[in-house]
Symmetry: C4
Subunit: 271 residues, 4 copies
């Protein structure tokens, strides 16, 4: 039981914070963990559709990935094998434990940066879905000192601030920029803290939410907001949503994510 | 009978200005109002097509809405149930009275911000169609002090000035930004005044016109003009249309809205 | 016989310069002129395809038009009836004389601004095709003092300078901005002079060339160049093509217009 | 045997550096060189697909070209006849020697700028594929003094610096900007040196890599990076990848090029 960034006390599962820290040092050749059994098919369907939506909406291209926590086990998550999100089918979804070890890899390549997902799930019991992307309007904010802030109520989830992860503080000045192990994933998750979105300098961003649909909403509108903020900053000094407005609007919007989801889903399934 | 913002004296229907003001305080549980009967099918068809055009032209995404006043009753209007505009069919169109109470809801969800429409129809008898959107190039102008102004004759309807509605002046500093009741709708309608377009800080914009086709024209070209103005402001000091040029060009253009409508309609019906 | 802007002496046909000036004052109710007979079907096919290409390439939207001079008579030109270019078919093409009077209107609406075409054909015997558009990246240059200049060899036709037509100098400060008569068309044609492209303040631009394919090339790449120049100007002080480079590159490119034409044509005919 | 820009000593084939320099002065009417025989069909298929991908991804339009070195002979390369890349089929691929003389032209037009390819292949034995394009976000960097630098790990191949070729230093102040002979191609190849990408002032850019898939990756992400860098520079002072990060990330990415290739290929083959 630990005090989480979201202000509540949670059971982090079998490992907890110390487990997370130790996992980073553990031999990756350990025996494969056991499966928690099949997920609700609707969850896997949403995950596949979400892969396609993120591409169709310009959040991911050939790179980037989305995961969802297992609905039957807080200590497992699902994510595609290593491939372009737009091409993912249900057959490509793998189950991972929170150390990001695949349960039944069967020779398939896995994402080098799967540790982003496992380590955030460890530190954020409230999170059930995560997107990592290089969405193009967001990256400039990862590399400059201007903060990403909510231009309108739709992006109100940006209201509490958007932290920036500088990999040099953990991996030194000569890394290949990738979150390629648990220690780096843990460091990123720590910077994310209780926020829905964090930026990664020289890399991209990560979004977290309570469901696949919510995290897709956040990933899409982080990109949309970045485009609008860049335009506004060139015109003058924008009035952003203040923290109270952002909190109130986020509460409202969290009940409305199915509206754009229905649209985005029809776009990718009609093709 | 009241003096309208458009400079003429109108019969505002059964309620008038005072009725509008009082309606904001009235119990929403009042019995459902009676229908004014079916509309001209061509009007409903235009409204459905307009929903699709606004998405196809980048004015709305999963959010935003368009309404039209009833052709048989100045005190009724039509608008979709709560859903993404691109997916709207004739079956989804609901009739509302000017307090934005649905006539025959049958359990369907309604837009939280329907009061934008009802309250503008109350104050603007000349208006027969309204679009509310978060179109992305326009929002920066809602958050900065630079005014939106007509770059060319096509956007001449912006000539008389584009007011900005700051919800904090009515709802205080901690609202969820939504026009979620009649009082807020009335305040927005008052800021809109006699203009075709008003911006909403931290939110989006609203456009009003004499028909569905005219309001679609205005919503699309407000967005197009915002993009062009932002580019021009970065190059230098633009010469905008002056008010006389804008008024003359708007008169000409009001006779030409079918030309782009035919194009936009074919795009969405050919799919 | 007159000395033309292109530096050569030409026979301007039955009217010449004085005829052009007088035509602006003539009663529009004069009897319809005689047809010069059918054009080469390949010319009409190119004109129809060009209408579709200009829309597909983002040069025109619901507005804008393209014409071509008659291949059998220097004093006639072809252009669509008043409609969105993307929807034009061979049936919609009308024949005009150089006063922009339709030969056989049969009740069809004609473009209010057809005088752009007739008056340029009068002053520029070398010109066989004209595009008028509101292409969005170009309009900012019509409204500011920064000149449009060639960023690379593809837009070398911009090398000799791009004049800007200010309608206020002819129509006064309260026009509806349209080139709605021969006098305005003549004034615009005079500003265009020997250049391939002129901008129209608060309106758009016009491009002229020796063939339909050449004018489409110029209209498309004027827009592309404007986008690139705007980006470059924000980064620093660009080195543009000098006049010698532009002249040499334009000569080369004039032999290569079929290459993009084949691509653009396949795009619009494959749909 | 010569010391190459890549730091290694290579056999440059039958001609070598001196041959390259002399070739520029040789009579183009020399007898056609002999074919090195058919290529691996998979190589030609990749080359055709690459032509389509480069168009679909916005790197080339009607202009631009891609070549690959012959898999059986270091002194031969393949490239399309002169046409828009999007329309290229296997039938359009020609074999060239390193003087850029077509082996079996059969009356087909060849790219005026084929010397870009032959001369780079001569100086860079490590290079097996080359793209020349006018991709729009890159050209501004060719015309200003701001260097193109890697915004994230995906564009890490830009890490060692991106040289700019100024044709005026070789062709004087009045060229048509084209690399229309071997001497100009050699000068460009010399400026490229050991780098993966070079810019061409007033023209476009060139990318080189160890395979068709790698060069497509680089051409696409050079354009993507240029867009992001332009945005970032307007916001503030970006932190780019340093040279160590870029070198490490490039090594990782060189193993991942099939991921976006699979996506891009499906896009163009599904049409």
């Amino acid at each position: 039981m630990v005090q989480c960034f979201c202000g509540m006390v949670h059971d982090l599962g079998r490992r907890g914070f110390l487990g997370a820290l130790m996992a980073a040092a553990v031999d990756a050749q350990a025996p494969a963990p056991a499966s928690a059994g099949p997920a609700d098919p609707a969850l896997i369907e949403d995950l596949v559709i979400a892969n396609h939506i993120l591409y169709d909406q310009g959040v991911v291209d050939g790179f980037g990935h989305i995961s969802t926590r297992h609905d039957k086990d807080q200590n497992r998550y699902f994510m595609s094998r290593s491939m372009a999100p737009a091409l993912v089918t249900a057959e490509d979804i793998l189950e991972y434990d929170l150390d990001s070890t695949p349960i039944d890899q069967r020779g398939r390549a896995v994402y080098l940066e799967r540790f982003i997902h496992g380590e955030i799930y460890k530190l954020r019991p409230d999170v059930r879905a995560i997107v990592h992307s290089h969405s193009p309007a967001v990256i400039p904010y990862a590399n400059v000192k201007v903060p990403l802030r909510p231009m309108n109520h739709i992006a109100s989830f940006l209201g509490g601030g958007v932290p920036v992860f500088e990999i040099r503080t953990v991996a030194g000045p000569a890394s290949d920029m990738l979150i390629r192990n648990a220690a780096l994933g843990h460091a990123l998750a720590t910077v994310l803290g209780p926020h829905p979105v964090a930026l990664m300098r020289g890399h991209g961003s990560v979004a977290a939410a309570q469901s696949v649909r919510h995290v897709v909403f956040r990933a899409v509108y982080t990109e949309v907001n970045a485009r609008m903020e860049s335009e506004a900053l060139r015109l003058g000094e924008p009035t952003f949503l203040n923290d109270e407005e952002a909190a109130a609007a986020m509460k409202t919007n969290d009940g409305l994510v199915d509206r754009p989801w229905d649209l985005w889903k029809r776009r990718v399934t009609a093709k």
